[in-house]
């Protein structure tokens, strides 16, 4: 085979390269730049070396936010994935119920994140909020502004309300791709409901579930808007997750150096975890 080699094709990818350079690489380099310098304003910078990184990694505030964030991600995954599977399994597969269910499921996903936050912020208030008022009215002492546990519950319920639909829709897509013959064969083979789930439905959903878990993990690990609107990271620091902490540092205190160092560490963590997921997924494929 005689292939003509030339490098003209690079021009085709050039627009993307330029775009990515300006939207991702250049800002990232700016952050790298800040992370090794110190400033007291007036655009005067002094070399700081690895000082900010050392400070960050030894600060309990950072690790606490990290642990909170990991616990949060773990809890919402533990709720949203099984719940999403359960709902998807019980959604109708044909008839008029299908579009109705799909629209209902899509609704929370269509709402802007800050609006979701506002909805729950008002919903949970115990003076005018439907939820907060009636919870207190029936004798449950609920106040997300003062009680860290209530704040956590509110944010978790909000996230479950907002994002379970995504898991449902992905799982549903996996489920409807299973041909009828599989269910018929299972009947012929005398399989129980559990066996049908374990050996037919779950394997068919495995790919989409991995994607759902990956998406939900990354999103929840970067969560900012909703808890910021609802609790603002409080009470105290109890719902201060990594990104909230980061914004407090960068904008609230205008500590650009530490904030930049934090961004990089945060970025590396997400990169590492995404790489782990990616490897797991591709290994899984190779096994097939």
């Amino acid at each position: 085979m005689d292939k003509t080699w030339n490098n003209k094709a690079w021009f085709l990818v050039l627009p993307v390269l330029v775009l990515v350079a300006f939207t991702a690489v250049v800002p990232l380099m700016t952050v790298v730049n800040y992370s090794v310098q110190d400033t007291f304003g007036n655009n005067v910078f002094t070399w700081a070396g690895t000082e900010w990184f050392e400070e960050l990694l030894s600060s309990s505030r950072f690790w606490e936010a990290m642990v909170r964030n990991l616990i949060f991600s773990f809890i919402i995954l533990a709720i949203e994935v099984p719940l999403g599977i359960f709902i998807a399994l019980n959604m109708p597969k044909k008839g008029w119920g299908v579009p109705v269910c799909l629209v209902l499921m899509s609704l929370p996903l269509l709402i802007p994140w800050n609006v979701v936050g506002t909805i729950w912020q008002v919903f949970g208030r115990n003076d005018i909020g439907l939820l907060g008022y009636y919870l207190n009215a029936i004798g449950i002492d609920y106040n997300y502004v003062q009680d860290p546990f209530d704040a956590w519950v509110t944010i978790i319920v909000m996230d479950v309300w907002h994002w379970t639909s995504l898991v449902v829709l992905l799982c549903y897509a996996g489920l409807v791709s299973i041909p009828d013959a599989f269910y018929q064969a299972a009947k012929i083979d005398g399989a129980s409901r559990w066996a049908v789930f374990r050996y037919i439905q779950l394997p068919k959903m495995q790919r989409v579930l991995l994607i759902a878990v990956l998406l939900r993990f990354m999103d929840s690990f970067m969560i900012y808007t909703e808890p910021f609107v609802v609790t603002g990271g409080g009470p105290g620091n109890s719902t201060t997750f990594l990104s909230i902490d980061l914004v407090k540092t960068a904008l609230g205190q205008f500590d650009l150096g530490p904030a930049a160092a934090m961004s990089l560490v945060y970025f590396l963590i997400i990169l590492l975890l995404s790489w782990v997921f990616y490897t797991v997924m591709t290994n899984y494929d190779a096994e097939r």
């Binding site: 041909p179 013959a181 599989f182 018929q184 064969a185 009947k187 012929i188 083979d189 005398g190 399989a191 129980s192 066996a195 050996y199 037919i200 394997p203 097939r288």
Partner: protein
């Protein structure tokens, strides 16, 4: 194993069927004998899969009754009927090993593990996958997967019947031959009652002792491959079986003579048909091409390998004849009909010819 009586079964997918046309299965009344190998043959949409699913219990018929060895099973579930069924596309549990796939139907029924092991090993030998037992099923080729599907049907020795729904569609042609002959062997060895749905006449004719030809939601003929070929009860069977299908032409009958345009054809007997549209059917294999008989004009000669198919016009109608590979078409071609191959149809149904 069981004898299966299908008693006046009708089925419609509509909630309130009124007309005949609403029924996917118009009326089937037939007995599948214990240990018989049957093929349900017919074009797509003729109701053969519907009938199969009614037998296995995946569908419950709108009307009629189903008996296994005389016991009414019409309202029993698939599990209770104890039927094995193999589908058109391979169904495998791809997270399990080949071994576990075969063990699955047995374990679901609580068979002791020692018996499971014995049966699975036997079945693995049967379908020739013994060396694959510990492999994950998902890496297999389409025909290996279909063999597993077959194996899951064969592993339960106590099933009432094994049903096949076009099981060889996805298989390569040479593997089709292999699998089909394996099925035949299994049938001979173990005497399962087998019902095999297909739209491929070769498959039906080679597999079955009795072929059930279905057309438009009903059974048009049940017979041995030879009967279907020699004495098609309905013109549809004539068209559908054979390649090319039977020549059917409208004729007028007078005693032992049929008149086709200006031609007169001697019949082997006097058909007892006095009403309806009368047609004469003759298979291309019984049309003799030569120098005497009725004049035809040749439109095409197709060489299909073992023989040639001659397409011609007789009295303005298309007619096909089969001639030997070495025979040639004469300059002024004429055809004769071999009386042994002549069938007479009134309103598409075959009528007997008296002496």
């Amino acid at each position: 194993m069981a004898r299966i009586d299908v008693n006046h079964v009708r089925h419609s997918y509509l909630p309130n069927p009124q007309k005949d046309a609403d029924f996917a299965l118009r009326e089937v009344h037939h007995t599948f004998e214990d240990g018989g190998a049957y093929a349900l043959l017919g074009p797509s949409g003729c109701g053969k899969t519907t009938l199969l699913n009614i037998i296995s219990g995946l569908l419950h018929p709108s009307h009629g009754q189903l008996l296994f060895n005389g016991r009414d099973v019409t309202n029993l579930s698939t599990q209770e009927r104890n039927i094995a069924q193999v589908f058109q596309f391979p169904v495998i549990y791809d997270t399990m090993t080949v071994y576990d796939n075969l063990a699955f139907p047995l374990r679901n029924r609580g068979v002791p593990e020692a018996d499971v092991d014995r049966k699975v090993r036997e079945t693995l030998e049967m379908i020739d996958l013994a060396s694959w037992a510990r492999k994950k099923a998902r890496g297999l080729t389409a025909d290996q997967k279909q063999k597993i599907s077959l194996g899951r049907g064969l592993v339960r020795s106590d099933v009432n019947a094994i049903l096949f729904d076009e099981p060889l569609t996805v298989i390569d042609p040479h593997m089709k031959w292999v699998l089909r002959s394996q099925l035949k062997q299994l049938h001979r060895r173990f005497g399962y009652t087998m019902v095999y749905v297909t739209h491929d006449q070769t498959e039906a004719l080679t597999f079955a002792d009795q072929v059930v030809v279905m057309y438009d939601g009903g059974i048009v003929q049940i017979g041995t491959p030879a009967e279907l070929f020699e004495r098609p009860r309905h013109t549809f069977v004539g068209y559908f079986i054979g390649s090319p299908g039977m020549n059917v032409m409208p004729v007028a009958i007078d005693g032992r003579t049929a008149t086709l345009g200006s031609q007169r054809i001697e019949l082997p007997g006097a058909p007892k048909a006095d009403s309806g549209a009368i047609e004469l059917g003759i298979r291309p294999e019984y049309v003799r091409l030569g120098r005497d008989g009725m004049a035809v004009s040749i439109s095409k000669v197709e060489d299909v390998g073992r023989h040639k198919v001659v397409r011609a016009k007789l009295e303005g109608r298309d007619i096909a004849a089969v001639i030997g590979e070495d025979e040639t078409v004469p300059a002024e071609p004429k055809v004769r009909f071999d009386p042994a191959g002549i069938n007479i149809y009134a309103d598409s149904w075959r009528v007997e010819m008296g002496a």
